[in-house]
């Protein structure tokens, strides 16, 4: 008995030692591989998986696929609040957006807000009269790196291959994580049944129910039919909104972006918005 106990203690001790030292051994034996891959990336070209590290700061990777985007030419909206309202009304009508006259409960897909709220990073003292007096058109930015999608626990919101950050209302549990995640306030929560607040129904689109979050969907359902977004269509003759594929160098939107000086909302957050503004 005594002998067996001694043997057991020896084996147990050896095992514990081996267990403690194992991670260190693994680290030592695998470190040459890590070192060589880091080296490859640093010199620039071999390892394709690490290639993005080698790209100099500020240069974007060549984009793939479609990424829908929108340019709001605010110059065409200045002094014409009725044009803004027209775009907003068109969206509300197409998507059965309720009109709730209450800051807490209101539902916004496309709305207007003053410059300092829309572009807090761009605000400065002594801003021009035009900036002070005009509201700016705001909507979901359909970010390339959407924080709302990262935080959604049910994948009720997701990024489509064409760049639209879409929502599946069936799946939304109303936790409002996405509203916390969105730095642009583009999402609204249905605190109550929205139906009584909808003026006219569009029979081709559903309404929402109490306890669901909603937001601009870049008119995904209209694009699928070959139509343009409703806000664009409403102000078509003014040319104030341009919509298209940001990844297509020949598209109208890229022409505008190449020519004009545009800004995005809160660029420092790294969400890479797809909505651009000419101010």
């Amino acid at each position: 008995m005594d002998k067996q106990r001694r043997k057991f203690l020896k084996v147990a001790g050896a095992t514990a030692l081996a267990g403690i030292s194992a991670p260190a051994v693994v680290k030592l034996t695998s470190s040459p591989a890590i070192a060589s891959s880091e080296h490859g990336a640093a010199t620039g070209h071999e390892a394709p998986a690490d290639a993005h590290k080698a790209v100099p700061h500020g240069v974007e990777e060549a984009p793939k696929g479609v990424r829908l985007g929108l340019v709001v030419d605010m110059r065409k909206f200045y002094g014409k609040p009725e044009l803004l309202d027209k775009a907003i009304a068109a969206c509300n009508k197409v998507h059965n957006v309720p009109q709730i006259d209450n800051k807490k409960s209101e539902i916004k897909w496309v709305w207007k807000a003053p410059f300092e709220n829309v572009f807090p990073e761009h605000s400065s003292s002594h801003s021009s009269k035009i900036r002070k007096e005009n509201d700016f058109l705001v909507m979901c930015n359909h970010c390339d790196e959407p924080p709302c999608v990262r935080v959604c626990p049910t994948q009720a919101t997701y990024r489509l291959p064409n760049g639209i950050v879409a929502m599946d209302f069936h799946r939304c549990i109303g936790c409002r994580f996405c509203m916390m995640g969105c730095p642009y306030g583009a999402r609204s929560f249905n605190w109550e049944n929205p139906r009584p607040y909808i003026k006219e129904y569009n029979p081709d689109f559903p309404s929402r129910m109490r306890g669901v979050v909603e937001k601009c969907n870049f008119c995904g359902e209209r694009i699928a039919l070959g139509k343009e977004p409703a806000c664009l269509e409403a102000v078509k003759e003014s040319g104030a909104i341009v919509f298209g594929d940001l990844n297509d160098p020949g598209s109208e939107i890229r022409e505008v972006l190449d020519k004009e000086n545009t800004i995005q909302r809160k660029p420092s957050l790294g969400t890479k918005p797809s909505v651009f503004y000419i101010v």
Binding site: E200, Y201, N202, S207
Partner: protein, 133 residues
């Protein structure tokens, strides 16, 4: 057997009591088999045979939903020469124009309470606040 004259009648009463819902329904006319209204427009063909639709319409609707919303499968469905867009409001209700006379008949009978209509607009609801052009 002791107490035969109590036990046997007692058993009979117990069995009759337990099977009450069965024989009561068999003899009563309280819940006749539902007769959903066929399309008033006279359409004879659905996206799938009637028997399959009866069994699987909820699965089909879920497949349509995921296809349309997530996989970009918004292709048009052609049935009997007419084209429909995938969707409850845009396909089903084009022929079955009354939720009350079609959907509800069976759902009430089987006590199923789907929440489609919390968001989707029934033709009746949509007509209530029609667009005025």
């Amino acid at each position: 057997m002791y107490n035969k004259r109590f036990i046997i009648p007692g058993l009979v009463i117990f069995v009759l009591f337990v099977t009450f819902p069965l024989w009561f329904n068999a003899f009563s006319t309280a819940s006749p088999v539902p007769k959903p209204e066929l399309p008033p427009g006279g359409e004879k063909e659905c996206v799938a045979p009637a028997s399959e639709m009866r069994d699987r319409h909820m699965v089909l609707l879920n497949e349509w939903r995921d296809g349309v919303l997530r996989d970009g499968e918004r292709d048009v469905i052609t049935v009997g020469g007419k084209q429909y867009r995938k969707g409850l409001q845009m396909a089903c209700m084009q022929c079955h124009t009354s939720k009350e006379k079609f959907c509800d008949t069976c759902h009430d009978y089987t006590s199923v309470k789907p929440f489609c209509w919390d968001c989707h607009l029934t033709p009746e609801e949509a007509a209530l606040k029609k667009e005025t052009h």
